[in-house]
């Protein structure tokens, strides 16, 4: 299959969805985008035909299939995932797991040629017994308390089963690590923007980032070119957490895990629906992914981990990041 002329993007308002659409439209003048989301985006390009779709409705798969057929969609990018977990745990599951299932069913019914699914290296899970570089074949062990990670791990499992039943569709899964860059604003970025950054006392894991441009470049190429399979999308190099914070000139507050977890319990439950360990364990153990396959497929990333971090910090500093 050559470069698709009509691309459907689910989750037009998500970080990946919005940025990818901007990028695709800027690069190719004859491309048409079919956007699916719960809410109409604030700004919409003329070449995007928008459809309001609620992935939690029971028969939404039929409606999506109908839209895909009517618009003659050739490739689907599934990016309808939460940018960060919410306290509505049930709804997150409905959207991320069941919603993905609906999208898969619709793709099968409409005989879509290519499906690109957004995923995360967080699904490997932070574990003390992880190897230093996790390959794509490593089991997705997730985190026992992070519900969004569990949802997506379940989604990936469903997708793997679906793939076996539908060999005609090229499926690309892009697992990207934490993105950093001037345009990133999510839970991770908020944590790093705290006036005093809490750290777990006695732990200083190696952290890996990918710059938003490199991440979206991989998505763009996966959408336009055939790259069936699973890929880790990461930046080159790693850096210890304390080094990154020192590089940004942040104040660090090292706290023993029990104290930090007790202090952060209620805010964390209220904001993310998970206990603090669901986030802080990612700053405790190793979960660095091996990006070699992704580098071969989508090209060498422009930014290393440290450069992505510096680009984030300097952009935040322009907006009075302290």
């Amino acid at each position: 299959m050559s470069a698709p002329g009509v691309i459907a993007v689910t989750g037009l308002g998500s970080f990946v969805g919005r940025r990818l659409v901007e990028r695709l439209l800027a690069r190719s003048p004859h491309l048409r985008i079919v956007g699916l989301d719960q809410r109409r985006p604030f700004r919409l390009d003329g070449r995007v035909s928008f459809h309001r779709i609620d992935l939690t409705e029971p028969t939404v798969d039929g409606r999506i299939a109908e839209i895909l057929e009517r618009e003659r969609v050739e490739a689907v990018v599934h990016a309808a995932f939460r940018n960060e977990p919410t306290s509505d745990v049930e709804m997150d599951h409905e959207i991320e797991t069941i919603g993905s299932l609906h999208v898969m069913h619709a793709c099968a019914a409409a005989k879509v040629k290519r499906l690109v699914v957004s995923s995360s290296t967080m699904l490997y899970g932070p574990r003390p017994d992880n190897p230093n570089f996790l390959s794509e074949a490593h089991p997705l062990r997730g985190h026992p308390e992070a519900h969004c990670v569990a949802n997506r791990a379940e989604m990936e499992q469903l997708l793997a089963e679906w793939r076996v039943r539908h060999p005609d569709t090229e499926v690309t899964v892009l697992r990207h690590c934490w993105t950093m860059g001037p345009g990133v604003w999510n839970r991770v970025a908020r944590y790093f923007s705290l006036p005093v950054v809490p750290m777990l006392l006695g732990y200083d894991p190696l952290i890996q980032f990918v710059h938003e441009d490199d991440c979206l470049h991989a998505y763009e190429r996966a959408t336009r070119e055939p790259h069936p399979g699973v890929y880790n999308v990461v930046g080159r190099g790693v850096a210890p957490l304390s080094t990154l914070l020192r590089l940004a000139g942040k104040r660090i507050l090292p706290l023993p895990a029990p104290i930090l977890f007790r202090m952060a319990y209620y805010p964390s439950q209220a904001q993310t629906g998970d206990p603090p360990a669901a986030f802080y364990d990612y700053l405790r153990w190793l979960w660095v992914a091996d990006g070699a396959r992704g580098f071969d497929a989508f090209g060498e990333p422009v930014y290393t981990t440290k450069e992505a971090w510096i680009s984030f910090v300097s952009a935040r500093r322009m907006r009075r990041y302290r």
């Binding site: 003390p128 006695g202 190696l206 080094t243 020192r246």
Partner: protein, 321 residues
């Protein structure tokens, strides 16, 4: 219709006005000079700022920030080197032989016996190879899982070149040409009780041999004597250990008795013997799937390490040397 020639000087005027405005602003706000250090800052104030900086980074403020992909920090290694050399030369008085057995270039998998609870044996072997091998390469040592889970220990071990012991890590290090030190006895070895101190235990499940077969690197047996007496393990105390989630609490002549001072190793005499490499080139790369061959090679390796330990014991005059 306006003549463009009339418009031209007006634009010029505007530019000139802007330039003069800029000059005016500059003259009113002199450029900020370099920040001068505060005059007459007291000793206490400086101590306070220094302490605050150190507490915030918990003693890791001296690291360079440049780590390799496994987290080794050259600056930390450089800082630790004098201490490790002191331990090597004065504390343990290590007697080394056989450094020339290691290949001049390319990777090698060093397989040693393990003892003495704390990873002194790994650090001393790394020190020995770095100082006395012709290429002065620093080997990377594989660390058991339970040490990785300990707070404070893990970040420092990673910066000193320790890597979690697993197949993926070993293969990646070997394929990039490193010397890798492995202790296939694992926790069984570290936790040898005193009366079994010189007996080399079972070598895991043959993972070391399989990695060597797959990557085609030579296996180098190493015998280390002395580490077992540095922390002589009298017995394993299991009752209080469960509440801490540890496998056991080690009881040595010094450990629970003297508190943190018990972490200091006893100044025993060490002997390190590096044996001749076991060549694996003549075997097919898929020999790793032959379980019987792997277990035979593993046992051969274990017996070689055991005989190196026996030789080292015979050469050492006494525990305190």
């Amino acid at each position: 219709m306006k003549d463009p020639e009339v418009e031209e000087p007006r634009g010029d005027e505007l530019l000139r006005a802007l330039a003069s405005l800029r000059l005016e602003i500059r003259s009113r706000f002199p450029e900020r000079g370099p920040v001068r250090p505060p005059v007459g800052e007291s000793e206490w104030a400086r101590l306070y700022t220094d302490l605050r900086r150190r507490i915030a980074t918990l003693g890791m403020s001296e690291r360079s920030g440049e780590v390799d992909e496994f987290g080794m920090d050259e600056v930390v290694v450089d800082r630790a080197r004098p201490i490790l050399d002191l331990l090597f030369d004065r504390w343990f008085r290590v007697d080394l032989a056989g450094a020339a057995e290691l290949p001049e270039r390319g990777p090698a998998l060093l397989v040693a016996n393990h003892s003495g609870l704390l990873p002194w044996d790994g650090l001393m072997l790394c020190q020995a190879v770095e100082r006395f091998h012709a290429s002065h390469r620093r080997p990377r040592f594989l660390v058991a899982d339970w040490l990785i889970t300990l707070p404070f220990v893990q970040p420092y071990l990673a910066r000193l070149g320790g890597v979690r012991a697993c197949r993926e890590n070993a293969e990646r290090l070997l394929s990039t040409g490193h010397f890798v030190v492995a202790f296939p006895e694992g926790v069984k070895g570290a936790a040898k009780v005193f009366r079994e101190r010189y007996r080399v235990k079972r070598f895991g499940r043959g993972g070391v041999v399989r990695v060597a077969l797959e990557t085609g690197v030579p296996l180098v047996p190493v015998g280390i004597v002395g580490a077992e007496e540095a922390h002589p393990l009298l017995f394993k105390w299991t009752t209080p250990a469960r509440s801490f989630g540890l496998p056991f609490v080690p009881v040595t002549p010094t450990f629970p008795l003297l508190g943190p001072l018990g972490g200091l190793p006893l100044p025993t005499k060490w002997v390190i013997r590096i044996g001749a490499p076991i060549p694996l080139d003549h075997l097919a790369p898929d020999a790793g799937s032959d379980e019987l061959l792997v277990s035979r090679l593993t046992e051969e390796l274990r017996s070689q390490v055991q005989s190196l330990v026996d030789v080292a014991l015979a050469e050492r005059e006494s525990v305190w040397g």
